[in-house]
């Protein structure tokens, strides 16, 4: 058996023995990780549900280009050329003045019918442009709108700029908040785990000193503590994800019917994010224990 595997097996045995000897500290550390990852995961779940909700709204976003009544056919061709050349445009619907008036009439409520007595058609012709689904759809809409707005023959361009800008700002700050909170929680976790591992190391200080004096490599000494940190991270994140899953089931049971009318559902965290959270937690555990063992071995010869 290679020395590497031997070191790993022996390290794993030492890890288990460390955990058994310091059960309370280990479980305290796992509980802290569970709480932190739970908060992070909960936010991630809310964030992805919100994202889904906003994506639904996003689907309804379209660019409407209102044309001047006296637009020439060459100006119209220029506009159609720009629209058709954009790779982000899914479909374009031409609405003539006449069609716009007919649609307006058919949508008009009975009480307002007297308004239809006017002798001219005040509505402009327009293009209703739908865009392909993409995270950057709003950016594409804005870009095309800016391109068209400066052309001749345009009366106005509308795509709900105000609320789209608000939506974008909201999403930006949500992301910022998520990363800031994630960063702070990870930092806190690193401190907590590294202290737990430090306690574990100090409780076996004599043994480690002896190991080094009788020919153990620094790697041999480090491995059990690195494994312990990783194990804490793994156990903490798995427990946290179980809790979030439980909460997700509860929310579905209680509130699914209320949001079904909006053709929405409570989603759990998407798979890549699940693996991401577990990976992050394991990485934080590894990093924290690495810091502790590194500091300890630096002072020991």
């Amino acid at each position: 058996m290679s020395y590497f595997i031997q070191t790993f097996i022996s390290g794993f045995r030492t890890t288990l023995s460390n955990i058994l000897n310091n059960k309370q500290t280990f479980f305290l550390s796992v509980a802290t990780i569970t709480i932190s990852i739970f908060i992070l995961g909960l936010f991630l779940m809310l964030f992805s549900n919100l994202n889904g909700f906003l994506a639904k709204l996003d689907d309804q976003v379209q660019l409407i280009v209102y044309l001047n009544d006296n637009i020439t056919s060459s100006e119209r061709e220029v506009l159609e050329d720009i629209i058709s050349k954009s790779p982000f445009v899914k479909s374009t619907k031409k609405i003539s003045k006449k069609l716009a008036w007919e649609e307006f009439q058919s949508n008009m409520s009975e009480n307002l019918k007297p308004l239809l007595d006017i002798k001219f058609n005040p509505l402009p012709a327009s293009y209703k442009i739908q865009f392909h689904e993409a995270d950057s759809r709003l950016i594409h809409i804005r870009e095309l709108s800016e391109k068209l707005n400066v052309k001749k023959g345009i009366e106005s361009v509308e795509y709900g700029q105000e609320w789209i800008t608000k939506l974008e700002k909201f999403m930006f700050f949500s992301r910022l908040f998520f990363f800031a909170m994630g960063g702070l929680l990870c930092f806190g976790l690193i401190l907590i785990i590294s202290n737990t591992i430090r306690l574990s190391i100090y409780s076996r200080q004599d043994e480690i000193e002896l190991m080094l004096l009788i020919g153990a490599t620094p790697r041999f000494v480090k491995v059990p503590y690195l494994l312990e940190g990783m194990l804490q991270g793994f156990a903490g994140s798995i427990l946290a994800l179980f809790l979030i899953r439980g909460l997700n089931f509860y929310l579905k049971d209680e509130f699914q019917s209320a949001i079904e009318s909006m053709s929405m559902e409570f989603k759990f965290i998407a798979e890549p994010y699940l693996f991401g959270l577990v990976g992050l937690s394991v990485l934080v555990g590894l990093l924290a224990s690495y810091i502790s063992t590194f500091q300890f071995l630096r002072i020991y010869k």
Partner: protein, 218 residues
């Protein structure tokens, strides 16, 4: 095999514990390192296995320049050596058997070899009946024998023993000396630090006598 050239070691920066100390030990030798308390015996042993840095000079063990070894590769030096510490350094939560096998685990031996070699080492020091006992339940002489078994179990080419009979009564001290002599007969180089004149007279080996960090007599 072991060469020390003009080593200076100071703990407080002014009074040298070792003052231009030099010595040479050939392969398979048995050497008594003697001198009064504070003469520098333990410091020499600690320098030899890389536990203490030194200010000046050069120390070569098996061709390895001890002063140039870093924490990362110190183990290469220590695997040539078995050390019997003055305070034994036994692990109280491990049995006699586990204490001895521990020395092999840390160098990555497989379990079958560990069992066999541990058993053999315990047989050599006469401790097989007590293999499952914890060190705290054993006498000073028995604890010392565990430390010797641990030092010899990896079959090192050099054994450094720091006052291995320091706390033992004369009869047991002689027994311990015999154990080291048997190891020496098998080719192991022994450096035996002691201030016991009785042991030195009994042993009839080369003596390096230290006083205030200098060799006063070979």
């Amino acid at each position: 095999m072991i060469q020390i050239f003009d080593v200076v070691k100071m703990y407080d920066g002014s009074n040298p514990v070792l003052d231009n100390f030099s010595m040479e030990i050939t392969k398979g030798e048995f050497v008594f390192l003697t001198g009064s308390s504070g003469a520098g015996k333990t410091t020499i042993l600690k320098i030899l296995f890389g536990q203490e840095p030194f200010e000046k000079g050069q120390v070569l063990v098996h061709g390895l320049n001890v002063g140039k070894l870093t924490n990362k590769n110190m183990y290469t030096l220590r695997r040539f050596m078995g050390v019997v510490f003055q305070d034994y350094k036994l692990l109280p939560n491990k049995t006699v058997f586990e204490n001895v096998s521990f020395a092999q685990e840390v160098i990555g031996r497989d379990r079958k070899t560990i069992r066999f070699k541990t058993w053999e080492a315990l047989k050599n020091v006469g401790l097989t009946p007590k293999k499952d006992t914890y060190p705290a339940c054993l006498s000073g002489g028995e604890q010392q024998r565990i430390a010797i078994a641990r030092a010899m179990v990896n079959e090192p080419s050099i054994i450094l023993a720091d006052e291995p009979t320091g706390n033992l009564d004369p009869d047991i001290s002689i027994e311990i000396l015999k154990l080291f002599e048997e190891l020496n007969k098998k080719g192991t180089t022994i450096i035996f630090a002691t201030h016991s004149q009785e042991i030195i007279k009994r042993g009839k080996h080369r003596i390096i006598n230290l006083s205030q960090g200098k060799v006063v007599e070979f």
